[in-house]
């Protein structure tokens, strides 16, 4: 099975960056993209995102499935905006250039199209950043970076432990499912929906019980090796901040400041080509 959205070791300068750097970039990038509706800023961000994505050498198979899902959601989002406020564009930009009429209060206006285009670009500036962050950051290093930016190490470690045991739980699930199927508990489409829900209990309970056994072992093992002894801990996988990291962080901060300055310079979040 292809591992979707999981870390893959590659040698690019993005992979070499510290997790902290990527986390800061990711957070600021999303913040900027959420705040601004300035098309000029968005276009620059879009181009930049695509370039970075290309550099990170991410393969389509790593992200394709999730990308398709996001596209469905985006289409739904764009459609819903039009359905509920077909004149949002006019409300924002102040003019109303009708291209053609559909029915009732639904006109297609240039302003609405432009507004929705901005929404689409926003999606496309964030998606590559999310993907890139997930597939280029080693999960252990991610835990370390969260700790670095001030989040308790318990949170980071919980994530890292979850990632550690997901494959184990998956294989346990398959084993239990098979054994229960052999006992005659139908999990395929042949069983009715109600029966399938009932039958999942036959897998879920054994899965929970065998996972509980495991949790007991894991928590003992962690305690026996001093987990939680101090308020802080160090990380084997942590990467030191190098020149490139400082450059990236500096650039990200400058870019964010500049983008927000340009966006809000005229007192509105929107860039208006119609006046």
């Amino acid at each position: 099975m292809a591992k979707i959205l999981s870390y893959e070791e590659k040698d690019t300068w993005i992979h070499r960056l510290s997790g902290v750097t990527k986390l800061i970039f990711f957070l600021l990038w999303c913040l900027t993209s959420m705040l601004t509706y300035d098309t000029r800023v968005l276009v620059v961000m879009l181009i930049f995102s695509l370039v970075v994505f290309k550099i990170s050498k991410t393969r389509w198979s790593q992200v394709g499935a999730v990308f398709k899902l996001v596209m469905v959601f985006l289409a739904f989002n764009v459609f819903a905006i039009y359905l509920f406020s077909p004149d949002q564009g006019t409300a924002i930009y102040g003019t109303r250039t009708v291209l053609f009429h559909i029915a009732g209060r639904y006109d297609v206006t240039l302003e609405q199209l432009f507004y929705e285009l901005n929404v689409v670009i926003k999606y496309f500036t964030i998606i590559p950043a999310v993907f890139m962050f997930l597939v280029t950051t080693n999960p252990s290093e991610f835990a370390a970076s969260m700790n670095k930016v001030g989040i308790s190490y318990n949170v980071g470690y919980a994530i890292s432990i979850a990632l550690r045991y997901i494959p184990d739980v998956q294989s346990e699930f398959t084993k239990i499912k098979h054994a229960q199927e052999a006992r005659g508990i139908e999990m395929s489409g042949k069983a009715s929906f109600i029966n399938r829900i009932k039958n999942t209990a036959a897998i879920i309970f054994p899965l929970i019980f065998s996972s509980m056994d495991r949790i007991d072992v894991v928590s003992n093992a962690m305690e026996l090796r001093g987990y939680g002894k101090h308020k802080k801990r160090t990380w084997y996988m942590e990467k030191k901040l190098l020149r490139n990291d400082y450059l990236t962080i500096g650039f990200t901060m400058l870019f964010t400041a500049a983008a927000l300055l340009i966006t809000f310079a005229d007192g509105s979040r929107f860039y208006n080509p119609f006046v």
């Binding site: 084993k175 054994a179 199927e181 006992r183 309970f205 962690m222 090796r225 002894k229 084997y236």
Partner: protein
């Protein structure tokens, strides 16, 4: 010299229990000693270990009387974390205790928690990884490792702390015999290099004794039954009384009427003086009969030229073929990851073979669904917790019939009948949670037997069981095999199990069938044993050293003798 571990009049009672689990323990272990603690399940040996590493009383509280000093200090003052700097524990479950996402991180875990600077971590991790021979695996994820490798990572993970005491909780339980042997050798190496005190809790005495130990402590019913040298212990009958299995060669000499003396050094078969016993053993061999072969029965499960691979070009199983007859008890053996489980998955229909056929009573099973096969071939998983999904025993056993739409009356009848066979009838209205592990195991077997399958496949039926429970489960299986004629296939790496309870062993190594013969022949064949990560039985060495020409025949006769003896004992008890 002051002992590094010292129990004085020590008793412990868990908070939830009425009776103390440990009573009046007096035990001193010196620095640099290697001590083996043996005892049946429930004897208190695990609690004793937990007192040493601090899980008792810091994780499981209770009442302590008397005193315990570790490295001259009171554990209560050190706390769990303080103790973890002195005592390193390697747990039985090699999967569960692997915490890090990679080998390196797992080894570094204790260092991270201790806020060790990164450069120092790199250095120390490299150093211990080298010592336990996992340096080439540092960036591997746990699922890429074998059981033995995981265990070595666990050892490294506690050794980074420069612990004075290494505590092993049943280190052999999840390993195939050859890997277990290697683990014991590795423990010895560590001790030599670091002069660490070693405490091993184990009930597989023969395997644990592969390398010298200084002392063996036998725990029974919460007390120390004896504290002596291996040579002394093997001469007496304490082990038998406590339900711990002696090394097979020792049992064989005793059967032959030999009175073993400590001066003959019975600790290892290789170095034992056998001259005083050889004559007796030969005489015993001559007067003992091998068991009669079972009458020929028709084929029930036939595998023909079976191939399987997940990815093309990387076969998991190749050219597997065997024929199992009705009423046989067969073991499928081989090292972890050799393809044993894949084979059972193919038989049950969870996967489809790439090539070849599986026939049940001469009929190709390919068109049958998983559910349909489940009525003819029952699969019992390793842990009952992986199967039990209903709160009450009756409901759990009835489940398979219920989903097949059998009438309530018939369900009642068949479930009660099955519960009687499995000795669970008195508990039929109990909740499953009130049962012991062994009883739960019976429930999971009952829930399959109720469907009256023709073939029963059990995955590691005795994993993690001590000798008493092992015997209980295996005798039960033998009984249903004899009484109902059900064919039983066991997937295992327990050599005792295959030797004592199965008529035939199918040996798989690296996806190939390398032997299909009597267990006695398999375990006396060096090439096969090596390839399949099995270990030659010590009976083989005994036979050779006593100048018996046909060692596998010797093994056959020994097993037949043991079975007969056990049968007589059962009748005596019944």
């Amino acid at each position: 010299m002051e002992p590094i571990i010292e129990f004085k009049d020590f008793s412990f009672k868990y908070r939830a229990q009425k009776e103390p689990t440990l009573r009046n323990i007096n035990l001193s272990i010196m620095s640099g000693e290697k001590v083996l603690i043996v005892g049946p399940s429930g004897s208190g040996k695990s609690t004793l270990a937990h007192c040493i590493n601090g899980l008792v009383p810091f994780s499981w509280s209770g009442e302590i009387t008397g005193s315990l000093r570790i490295a001259g200090k009171n554990p209560a003052d050190l706390g769990l974390f303080g103790l973890s700097k002195i005592v390193g524990t390697v747990l039985q479950d090699t999967d569960g205790q692997f915490i890090g996402l990679t080998v390196a991180e797992d080894i570094a875990f204790a260092l991270e928690n201790d806020m060790t600077p990164q450069e120092e971590m790199f250095r120390k991790v490299n150093e211990v990884a080298e010592m336990v021979d996992v340096k080439g695996l540092l960036d591997h994820a746990p699922r890429e490792l074998s059981g033995g490798q995981k265990q070595r990572v666990s050892m490294a993970g506690v050794m980074v702390d420069d612990v004075k005491i290494l505590l092993f909780d049943e280190p052999l339980a999840n390993l195939d015999p050859a890997t277990g042997k290697r683990a014991i050798a590795m423990i010895d190496q560590i001790r030599e290099k670091r002069n660490t005190t070693i405490v091993i809790i184990e009930h597989r005495l023969e395997d644990a004794l592969y390398r010298d130990v200084d002392r063996i402590i036998v725990v029974g019913d919460g007390r120390i039954v004896t504290d002596t040298t291996p040579d002394e212990l093997l001469c007496g009958d304490i082990l038998n009384r406590q339900g711990i299995r002696e090394p097979l060669y020792v049992t064989a000499i005793k059967h032959a009427g030999g009175k073993i003396s400590p001066k003959d050094k019975p600790q290892h078969i290789e170095s034992m003086h056998l001259e005083p016993y050889a004559q007796k053993v030969r005489e015993w061999f001559d007067r003992t009969e091998a068991k009669k072969p079972k009458a020929d029965t028709p084929s029930v499960l036939k595998v023909e030229d079976l191939y399987f691979s997940y990815v093309e070009g990387r076969p998991i199983l190749q050219h597997i073929h065997f024929d199992i007859h009705k009423g046989e008890m067969v073991s499928i053996v081989g090292k972890n990851g050799a393809g044993k489980s894949t084979l059972s998955n193919l038989i049950c229909g969870f996967y489809e073979p790439t090539r070849g056929r599986i026939l049940l009573n001469g009929q190709d099973m390919a068109p049958l669904s998983i559910k349909e096969r489940g009525e003819k071939i029952g699969l019992v998983m390793q842990s009952p917790n992986q199967m039990i999904s209903k709160p009450m025993i009756f409901e759990e056993v009835a489940l398979g019939l219920q989903v097949r739409g059998v009438s309530q009356e018939e369900i009642g009848e068949r479930v009660n009948e099955t519960l009687k066979i499995c000795g669970l009838y008195p508990f039929r209205n109990w909740p499953v949670s009130a049962l012991s592990f062994g009883q739960k195991k019976r429930v999971s077997i009952a829930s399959i037997l109720v469907m009256k399958p023709e073939v029963l496949i059990l995955d590691e039926p005795t994993a993690g069981q001590d000798y008493r429970h092992y015997t209980e489960i295996m005798e039960f299986l033998k009984e249903i095999n004899e009484n109902s004629g059900i064919t039983i296939i066991m997937i295992t790496h327990d050599m005792h199990l295959m030797l004592e309870y199965t008529d035939r062993a199918i040996v798989i190594a690296d996806g190939h069938l390398i032997a299909d013969d009597t267990p006695a022949k398999v375990l006396t064949n060096e090439t096969i044993a090596d390839k399949a990560y099995l270990k030659k039985t010590s009976l083989y060495d005994l036979a050779l050293d006593c100048q018996i020409e046909d060692p596998s025949e010797f093994v056959e006769r020994f097993i037949a003798y043991e079975r007969e003896k056990r049968g007589k004992e059962d009748q005596g008890n019944g």
